[in-house]
Symmetry: C2
Subunit: 401 residues, 2 copies
């Protein structure tokens, strides 16, 4: 056993979050470092979903909208996510995809900002859908999009800025951006912030209330483990809710949905972010998946996440042949999410071989290896093994240099 | 046994679709006439969903996007629905809610129609979400909404009409509208048709290709039995696809989703209607639910549906005290969907009592009893029993007249 492997074993033995791994189906022994793309399966999901299908749908049928709490599940599950993103109850609703929620939030932000502000600042390095959706929101509200590097975002906003679409953690590099700083600069300029939390929700403390973030959206299938394509969430800061003017005013966000009124009258609260009938099977699978978070201290989660990524970077430096990989992920803790991205020539072939040898990360074109460290179930031993096998693969697979 | 009960037994014995009922979990013997709101549970769903959760998500994890066909499921399941709505493969995609799909379709229709057409005609009797979404689409594209009674729709469209949002079957009355006639009038006027198929998909033959319907959306949790809030579908006529300009351009409809290109370049085909990551658990539950449709002849389905609703109307006339209920559903077959709506003073209390006695329909304010007849699993005996118990309830519950 190498020194690093021994250190990993010691650290796992002392990890207060280690018992949570047993709540996930990881029985195949995989080194699963792709929870930043699709979270592992919490064991609670399958039995709960079977009960929802067989009893709530199969037997109670339509009565479940009331009796099983289906109708209010988007807000109830939203509050559970609220705790994980630092939002007090009543501000988060679950449903639709992240893209659709970003569209709602951006259009609503522009409308909040009023007619005199004609530009939307968009993180130039964001996940592409953010830019596509922002362009559509701008086109449909008569605004223009200005792409800005995240580091320049706070300085870039001014009297013409309606809203800033900011990424909390970069999907490609794992870089954590300064959401509190940008929010504060935006507010000083009279603009609104829309935060994309896809790569931070469930990965680190976010503090939406603490920092006064206006609007936010994020997915639930990465660090929140809701299942493939599970419904996304939308956060609407409480004091903005009465003026939240959705571009997607479906019957589910009506003040009296069963009144079937011909004119739209928006509901109070986070329900204003709803649109159509909620997707109950996926929503309740997510609900079950969230059980594992009960009692988890987000400070401990963050500490473990940073320790894991620190340790992985050390192991990679020790095991990888000189110069074959370069970290794209910042060394500074304040700038790091819960993933490590390594630039590596021939990354596609390297990742394919890693997967064949039981280490699952993913590859992002053109040359990035991504390794996500979900602190609920990743072990220090996983980090050591992944780096060790990466070193072996790099020795076996010729580099392009 | 009454004559009507005997007739019901004879008709069930001669019903070629009768064996399909065994594919549903209706073991509790309920008279379930609410399949126009939430379809009954097909037995294939629970085992398939368990496999998706435990094996595809739990074991294959991220590999399932390719290996289990998750990525292309929206189009594959879309084609299965295509057969049921009369659309050749490649024109239907599954995802999002009906409301969201109507928004995409309406904005796309307005853009297809060009800048000189400034009005959207909307069925004044449609399910409210249609009107809310149309108002938003109009607001965001600088058009205006004109509400029109369905019967006047064909005559109302003219040179300023960009699009017509038409309801195929009215959710309240069960009236079937003339979709082919309206489509043909719209096309003659140079306008586009967006059809809401929520209450016709899986209830009767629709013939989207035959009638050249431009765009359509509908839900899958009623007659298609996809489960509570299962993802909706969007139909984009093949020749319009290259010009379909979505207001919700998410990464899933990009020509090269994993290229992560900063500029949006729409995919070819029905995939252009996609937005964010598809909701796999609900989508594959729907996929399993659709198995029951394999080999079902839609002409036979329609014949049974009309026979069931005819028979229920006869039974209700025979059993209900004089003048206590009035049918809102047209007597003419050409104007009837697969539900019967009865106006009844005190309908709320009457339906509550019906449910207590094992007959499940639903109540729509202010005074409507709705009974849906899903031809895949409803029996003539159900129709007779429902009408008989309705007669008893009306005898026991004093009318407000």
């Amino acid at each position: 056993m190498s020194d690093l492997a021994r250190e990993a074993a010691d650290r796992d033995a002392g990890d207060e979050l280690a018992p949570l791994r047993a709540a996930f189906d990881l029985d195949d022994g995989a080194v699963y470092l792709d929870g930043n793309s699709l979270g592992a399966l919490p064991r609670a999901v399958a039995p709960r979903l079977a009960e929802v299908v067989r009893h709530e749908w199969g037997r109670l049928r339509i009565r479940s909208w009331d009796e099983s709490g289906w109708w209010t599940a988007p807000e109830r599950v939203g509050d559970r996510i609220g705790r994980l993103v630092g939002a007090a109850p009543g501000q988060v609703v679950v449903g639709d995809s992240t893209s659709v929620n970003l569209f709602k939030a951006l259009v609503a932000a522009v409308r909040l900002a009023g007619p005199d502000r004609d530009e939307l600042l968009v993180d130039a390095t964001a996940f592409p859908t953010d830019g596509y959706v922002a362009a559509s929101a701008a086109r449909m509200t008569g605004r223009r999009v200005r792409p800005v590097e995240p580091a320049a975002m706070a300085r870039a906003c001014g009297p013409r800025t309606a809203a800033l679409l900011v990424n909390h953690v970069d999907y490609r590099t794992g870089r954590l951006h300064d959401l509190p700083g940008v929010t504060s600069a935006a507010h000083a300029a009279g603009a609104y912030v829309v935060a994309d939390l896809c790569h931070s929700a469930g990965a680190l403390p976010i503090g939406l209330d603490e920092h006064g973030v206006d609007l936010a959206a994020g997915c639930t299938y990465k660090y929140l483990n809701g299942g493939p394509g599970s419904p996304a969430f939308l956060h609407i800061r409480r004091d903005l809710q009465p003026r939240f003017d959705s571009p997607l005013p479906g019957w589910n966000s009506h003040a009296d949905p069963f009144g079937m009124e011909p004119a739209y009258r928006p509901a109070d609260g986070a329900a204003r972010g709803r649109v159509g009938t909620p997707d109950i099977l996926s929503l309740l699978a997510l609900d079950a998946a969230l059980d594992v978070w009960d009692g988890v201290d987000l400070a401990a989660l963050r500490a473990k996440s940073l320790a894991l990524t620190d340790f992985f970077l050390r192991c990679a430096a020790a095991y990888a042949p000189d110069g074959r990989v370069t970290s794209l992920t910042p060394a500074a803790h304040a700038e790091r999410g819960s993933q490590v991205s390594l630039r590596c020539p021939g990354a596609g072939a390297v990742m394919a071989e890693l997967v064949r040898r039981g280490v699952v990360g993913d590859f992002r074109r053109p040359d990035v290896l991504r390794f996500g460290f979900a602190p609920l179930y990743c072990r220090f031993a996983d980090a050591e093994r992944a780096a060790r096998i990466l070193g072996e693969v790099l020795g076996d697979v010729p580099g392009s240099t």
